[in-house]
Amino acid sequence: MAVLEFKSVDLIFGRAWQEALCLVDEGAGREAVLEKTGAVVGVHDANLAIEEGEICVLMGLSGSGKSSLLRCINGLNPITRGELLIDDGGHRIDIASCDAATLRRLRTDRIAMVFQQFALMPWRTVAENVGFGLELKGVSKVERTARVAEKLDLVGLSQWRDKYAHELSGGMQQRVGLARAFATDGDILLMDEPFSALDPLIRQHLQDELMELQQRLKKTIVFVSHDLDEAMKIGSHIAIMESGRIVQYGRPEEIALNPANDYVARFVAHMNPMNVLRGGSLMTPLAALAETGGALRLGAGGRVALRLSADRRPERLTLAGETVTLRHWDGSGEGGAAAWRDSVVAASADITMGEAILIRHMSGNPVLLVEDGQMIGVVGDEEIYRGLLRQTGKSEGGRRDANRMGDNRDG
């Protein structure tokens, strides 16, 4: 069962919310509603189910309603209409209609939040900041000290515990923010563009750290981002938002391969495909490969010849006329180019485009994709080029659109 479920959630800011709801139901756009009623449509008709332990990224341009939607989850933005159900030990609580005491319990025990500008209290030390949520909850000082120490250790800031926030770098400050959110041991973590205020290297580093921590902690994370690369990297699911609506929801690769509309396509055009596209979507499937003389001819000049058994298992492999054995990809390329030169490599359909390029580059030969020992397709130069071109737009027109999108994103 989903830990969090949005059911037709609407969020309207302003006094004339009733009129505004009528208007959006009739299909009026944001500008029209604002002009007629003075109310701002934050979110309209959001439906989303977030499973336990997944990272759901809400993604869109600034003003698309992603942060507003996130703030509905812990009631910072009271929902105007609709239901937001949170699983609470078997039964479900509707955050949109629960009483203040329940909301407070959810905030102290279940849902923690990390902020874009860190939101650390400047008059508190690092340790006092981390213990903030526990203090509000009424946890005793002894227990607080122990739990703060544990969480500081988790984010690697133990020796900074008595410093003030402004004495720390941005990346460290956000780690304090993370530790503060972990401290209450809530199972749901809300992250509002937590890494956007950091410079790119630190950002990537913290993304990696978060993923590593998530391996151990297995929280349900709702993450807001305006950066599709970040969303693709950390998200198990992505919801793309435009003008207060969720326009597409799916796994990263689904979105990369089948953008639902122009808006999503423009985002995707700007994405770095290396870690998103998988071998399975790049490959030329076995059925589309032609056999010549009883064998498949692959690579430059057909120097790899592969004969398959009746159940499509690789049987006899020759490279430039000499018999070689098929090597299996180890996931990292141990030993570098020298160790893999002039070999033919089999890998799973799950390898990323980046890995496929690495294998192709080191071995000098196309990559065979194998599932349960059976050959399913091949990724060579042609397939890699096709994958890259798909990202940058097939035509000049698509290219221009992509550039315009980039300008918007900065603004």
Partner: protein
């Protein structure tokens, strides 16, 4: 023009009638305030005068050291206070300090909650602002008259006038501090489940503390600037010496009592100024 002046709007009359009505119906209320405040301030004066002067000087120097952790300020305080005692104004100075401290305490007790309320309720702030402007711009002599009607002569009407004059500072600065708390910090508090009371105690007040402290320091200085005017309605202290010197054109006495006021002002200012804003620094 003649018509205009001959049909005078009786504004002053109305106010006077209003004051009379208020006094008639609630003189017991003003009596209670008068008795209460009189008791507090006279008690404070009695305690301070009961202490030997040298001991009190040592205590003030010790307090300054405890607050600022340096020896320069106590080294300034001791000779300055000895000079005041030497000039023969010790008792008057103690009375003045008691007046200033009591008025500051009243201002803070009323002003800080008002400032917080104004920061939380825009409508209250909208109503409060013109009142504060009025309190600060209306010449102090003007409200000296009704306070005299309500509270009689003596230290209490002086104290009330001082409070009216000095209170806008802590209200304004508390308002400024509390309303300046960044939205993200408020959200952080709420997101971790703070109740409104916790939000006030653990987020808003700590953030606003430097501004509130500035308000209190300003309040002390404004109170001190009122001592001469408070003396006109009978408040004891250095102000009374200045008024006497003025009435008898006594240059020596005027200069000495003036110097004593300046010394008190400098010492209070130095002691109250926050030496290191470190912990709350941002």
């Amino acid at each position: 023009m003649e018509w205009l002046t001959s049909h005078k709007i009786p504004l002053g009359r109305w106010i006077e009638d209003g004051v009379d009505v208020v006094y008639e119906h609630s003189f017991w209320f003003f009596d209670a305030i008068s008795t209460g405040l009189g008791f507090v301030i006279e008690g404070l004066i009695a305690i301070l005068l009961w202490l030997p002067a040298l001991l009190l000087i040592a205590m003030i120097a010790g307090l300054a050291f405890a607050l600022h952790r340096n020896w320069r300020l106590p080294l300034l305080i001791v000779p300055a206070l000895l000079l005041v005692a030497n000039m023969g104004y010790w008792e008057e100075m103690v009375e003045t300090i008691a007046l200033v401290l009591t008025s500051t305490a009243v201002c803070v007790l009323i002003g800080v909650p008002l400032g917080i309320a104004a920061a939380h309720r825009p409508w209250f702030q909208a109503g409060l602002r013109p009142v504060l402007d009025l309190m600060q711009t209306i010449p102090t002599f003007v409200y000296l008259i009704p306070t005299m009607v309500f509270f009689g002569l003596g230290v209490v009407p002086g104290l009330i006038s001082t409070v009216v004059f000095a209170m806008p500072a802590p209200i304004r600065l508390t308002y400024l501090g509390v309303s300046g708390v960044p939205r993200e910090l408020i959200e952080a508090g709420e997101a971790f489940g703070a109740t409104p009371g916790q939000l006030l105690r653990k987020v808003e007040l700590p953030y606003a503390m430097p501004a509130i402290m500035t308000g209190i320091t300003q309040c002390i200085m404004l109170s001190l600037s009122m001592v001469v005017i408070a003396a006109l309605v009978g408040a004891d202290g250095l102000g009374k010496e200045v008024v006497r010197a003025l009435n008898s054109a006594d240059i020596a006495r005027g200069f000495e009592s003036g110097l004593a006021i300046v010394i008190v002002a400098i010492l209070l200012d130095r002691i109250c100024k926050r030496a290191d804003p470190g912990a709350g620094g941002r």
